[in-house]
């Protein structure tokens, strides 16, 4: 049943002489939710950014089905439409309303009918509980609301893969959940997703697969239950120990 969608082969990413990611190989199937973990600075965000060519890569290939994704691809904007991304910083366009933010790319890039996209946007906004904020400006929204809009904005492009780069990291704790619920809902619907996060509870709940990146390599590629209960490598144990401290409270 598994239909491979995203292929990463021998990916090499360097900043100058410094190797950030070395020989990364990964195949993501359609409908799979992959959570990428790792300590700060391990290259997990960079990895995500290589997947839609926001970062040029120095070696290897990234493909969506047969189409290769590189920084200088001629059809880069076509491929990026198929890969939605939500960032950590609230990246809505401040001069446009919520609806304007959502409509911009589908109407200007894909040339779709405005009425049709508006209808879809309203349905998506309703789904994330923000239908009544369609005419608000980003400055009038809370961080959690902004991130939900950013997710809707990406979804309106009908991407085949969604990338989430620490989308709850900059949020106040009480707003983290509302964004995570939207992502869980997407996972339920069978969206193909790659998620970088520091929230272990959420990772465990949402993931079909956990990747642990350390020092530019994927050192674990595991089922979440196995990863969180019986991690194989020492590095994974060490990493999980970092969160042990918080767990007794969190698990209640």
């Amino acid at each position: 049943m598994a239909e491979p969608l995203l292929f990463v082969e021998h990916l090499l990413k360097q900043y100058g002489d410094k190797v950030i990611l070395n020989d990364i190989n990964l195949t993501v199937n359609k409908g799979e939710v992959v959570v990428i973990l790792g300590s700060s600075g391990c290259g997990k965000s960079t990895f995500l950014r290589c997947l839609n060519a926001l970062e040029p890569i120095q070696g290897g290939t990234v493909r969506l089905r047969e189409e290769s994704i590189t920084h200088d691809s001629k059809n880069l904007t076509d491929i990026r439409q198929k890969i939605g991304m939500v960032f950590q910083s609230y990246d809505l366009f401040p001069h446009l309303t919520v609806l304007g933010n959502i409509l911009l790319a589908p109407t200007k890039v894909q040339g779709r009918d405005k009425a049709e996209v508006t209808q879809e946007a309203m349905a998506l906004l309703e789904r994330v509980g923000l239908k009544d904020r369609a005419d608000s400006y980003p400055a009038e929204l809370s961080g959690g609301q902004k991130q939900r809009v950013a997710i809707v904005r990406a979804l309106a492009m009908h991407p085949e893969v969604m990338l989430f780069d620490e989308v709850t990291a900059a949020l106040d704790p009480e707003m983290v959940r509302e964004v995570q619920d939207v992502m869980l809902d997407l996972a339920e619907q069978g969206k193909t997703m790659l998620i970088v996060t520091h929230e272990m509870q959420f990772a465990r709940a949402v993931a079909d697969r956990i990747l642990l990146i350390d020092d530019g390599h994927i050192i674990e590629d595991e089922d979440p239950e196995i990863f969180f209960t019986a991690p194989k490598s020492d590095k994974a144990k060490q990493f999980l120990n970092l969160f042990e401290f918080h767990r007794p409270k969190k698990n209640k």
Partner: protein, 230 residues
């Protein structure tokens, strides 16, 4: 206080002959110089400002030199250089008014370019990235995402530049342009014997005229700043 009249504060001269009309005409000259210069400065400043954000080091270097040169020079010195320089050295006859428009355009362009450069580079990097991630091309990103935000940041500050330019036109009398201050001086001179207080009255009127010219513009800037606060 019984003998208080218009003459005691020097306002009587205003109503002699066509004095009031002359003053307003003088203000008209000042406004004409500044508004023409603004009309030239804004498009050319936008162009240079965009160029200043380019990677090209040579382009940036020359623009930097131009900008610093114009900003370091007092406007009066620039006026003298252009007005006297053009006649003596280049054997061109440039009228005072023309020289003023040239200088104010050069100055306005430099100031505007710096404002544009500042506004452009103040747009956070993630605005470019999220546009790119949505599949927008560089051109689409510039016109739909970057430019509208830049204009919003730019409009209030460039309107303030306009009021600065209007006020600075008071220097052009030094190269013989008959603007509002010069007209006032002429009226004062002509009425020295009969209305010794004319100076006070006339400069008071000029104060009011400048205020009336600049205040609405300043209010507009404030209004836009509030409205577009992002």
């Amino acid at each position: 206080m019984a003998d208080f009249n218009l003459a005691s504060i020097g306002l009587d001269v205003l109503f002699k002959g066509k004095n009031m009309a002359r003053l307003i005409g003088g203000l008209g000259v000042a406004l004409k110089i500044s508004l023409l210069a603004v009309a030239i400065s804004i498009p050319s400043g936008i162009l240079l400002g965009v160029l200043m954000t380019w990677e090209n080091k040579i382009v940036r270097f020359f623009l930097r030199v131009y900008l610093e040169f114009i900003r370091i020079m007092p406007q009066l010195v620039l006026l003298f250089i252009v007005f006297f320089g053009s006649t003596k050295i280049m054997k061109l006859h440039v009228s005072g008014e023309m020289a003023s428009i040239i200088v104010f355009s050069l100055w306005g362009t430099a100031e505007m370019a710096d404002l544009v450069r500042g506004a452009l580079s103040s747009i956070p990097k993630h605005q470019y990235e999220s546009a790119a991630a949505l599949g927008l091309t560089k051109t689409q990103t510039f016109f739909h995402v970057i430019l509208p935000q830049t204009i919003r940041r730019l409009l209030p500050i460039s309107i303030n530049l306009i009021t600065r330019m209007i006020k600075t036109t008071s220097l052009v009398l030094m190269i013989g342009v008959i603007e509002v201050l010069k007209v006032a001086q002429q009226i004062i001179e002509a009425n020295r014997a009969k209305s010794p207080n004319a100076a006070f009255g006339l400069y008071l009127v000029i104060f009011i005229l400048y205020f009336l010219a600049c205040w609405p513009i300043s209010m507009l800037a404030k209004y836009l700043e509030k409205k577009w606060k992002v």
